[in-house]
């Protein structure tokens, strides 16, 4: 395979990928289907922003956000059924059960651990140690500016954490299991080693004092944009969207079996961060995963960072096996 030169890199030398928006297929079907799958993403984004901007205080709560998040994901699962991007990414019963298992861990055990050693606790400790007050001026900014900043700063942190995971071996060990997925579906974002899920959840946004409504608006940006990273739906995403925001196309390249392609598109919501740092590649891939698409079991996903770390340490520092000559 020859691959395609993108900047200084050759993408697609190891596995097939599609590079360039002009080469990506459009939604097929009648006018109604095309209309829906062209306008769905921007309509939902603006509707959700308007909802959180105007909802009375009694409704604008975290519990409502969780409810909307679950409802939205169920709706998207329905869209996966109606208009899949690739037949080979079809959600099976086994995949659904496995994905939901990781989602369940996130809602239960991880949440509990996060309460003790998560970023909230760390931010508070740092603030107490240095006697800082929170940045209260932040609360005087317009709501949407606050929301944008919260979302962008959080994503900026995530970008570097994610890029770090792809470049520093100890962090990569925690992230590698997530790259063994061979298809994208709504809940695939939760698949991975819990240590990684904990690390990626750390954010620097906690240093700011913001209005609760701004945080909810920032959260909705994450939901209405970030959710499309892992989904098996073909959309005609608008040009402006794919310039500023992450898309399934970008993230499928990131999960591609092609090594160079997987080292691009690190951000969660704002692909423009990748454009700024020169790691963005516009395109898509169908063939995903590692080791030629080997599926990693739940058990291996849980232990992989530790067993691999042990193997590496043993190789590097262990006594070399010396062959004893037969006497």
């Amino acid at each position: 395979m020859n691959g395609i030169r993108v900047g200084n890199r050759v993408i697609g030398a190891d596995a097939p990928v599609t590079v360039g928006w002009e080469n990506i297929p459009k939604v097929e079907g009648g006018p109604v289907k095309q209309f829906i799958f062209t306008w769905f993403q921007p309509t939902m984004l603006f509707a959700l922003i308007a909802f959180w901007y105007y909802a009375p205080n009694s409704i604008a709560k975290a519990s409502t956000a969780i409810g909307i998040g679950i409802g939205f994901k169920v709706l998207l699962l329905g869209l996966e059924w109606v208009n899949p991007r690739h037949e080979s990414w079809r959600l099976t019963w086994k995949e659904l059960v496995t994905d939901l298992f990781y989602v369940g861990l996130g809602y239960t055990v991880l949440r509990m651990v996060d309460g003790y050693i998560g970023d909230g606790v760390m931010v508070e400790a740092v603030q107490n140690a240095f006697n800082w007050d929170k940045f209260t001026w932040f609360m005087g900014l317009p709501l949407l500016v606050q929301a944008f900043l919260i979302s962008f700063i959080f994503d900026f942190g995530q970008y570097w954490m994610h890029r770090g995971m792809h470049n520093w071996y100890p962090l990569w060990l925690t992230h590698a299991p997530h790259h063994y997925i061979t298809q994208l579906n709504i809940n695939k974002g939760a698949v991975g080693n819990p240590v990684e899920l904990f690390l990626i959840g750390l954010g620097v946004g906690g240093f700011f004092d913001f209005l609760p409504r701004a945080a909810l608006l920032a959260g909705t940006l994450g939901l209405a944009v970030g959710v499309y990273q892992h989904i098996n739906v073909r959309f005609n995403t608008p040009r402006w969207w794919r310039f500023v925001f992450n898309t399934t196309e970008h993230h499928s390249l990131h999960h591609s079996q092609d090594y160079e392609a997987s080292r691009s598109n690190y951000s969660g919501t704002w692909i423009i961060i990748d454009r700024i740092f020169g790691t963005c590649v516009d395109g898509e891939a169908e063939l995903l995963g590692m080791e030629g698409g080997r599926r990693m079991s739940v058990g291996e996903t849980m232990t992989y960072p530790f067993t691999e770390a042990w193997k590496t340490i043993k190789e590097r520092f262990g006594r070399p096996a010396v062959a004893v000559p037969a006497e």
Binding site: W93, L211, G292
Partner: protein, 224 residues
Amino acid sequence: MMELLRSHNPPLSFRRVNLRFIDWIWHIRGSLALAPGQSSEDAFDRLAPLFRQTGTSQRRTSNALTFTKKNQAPQDKMSVFDGGVLQIEKGAAGPVLRYHLTSRALLFCFLAPLLFLGFAQLTIAMGKLQKPAAEAASMSGKGSDASKKKDVEVPMNPIDKALGAPEPEKPGKEGADKDKGKSKGPSPTPAYVFAAIFATLYVVGRVLEDRLVRALFRKSLLGS
């Protein structure tokens, strides 16, 4: 072949005693009548593509096919199964394909509700452990916190005012809500919800995968 069979099925006597009543949880058994006159060789040839998958190893004799799967891809049509035996026997009305498949995914889904019920119990236990400490902390910090909160004015940008966004709540009220939430501790509800989800998914999966594999075999046997 005997070796393969042995590795996937416990010794017969053991199975009879202990597993007979529960192994339906992760074992799927069934049979399909072959077309009249269809030879076992022809039937296995038609089924062969199903077993030509990455991570699948198979052994075939004249009337039996044994397979095992390891790290099978989700794109594999029989991904949910990890091993099994397909046999062609002579029935009263003609040759019959009998299959016996095992699935770790089904067993995992069957046990998942127990795991999540365990998480719920753990959450409750942690909440109980935390409660005395949280109460002590709130008693000592009550006075200073309340006076601090009264001084804080909640700003609202003129642009938001002009656009008609609701005014932000006073922090005193919010603080009270927060304290109330905190004293309750982490909730075991999500763990109960997931236990229920997996119990439902198990029932769906046990019925669905049974039907799907039957349909898959039927389609392969009839297909050209």
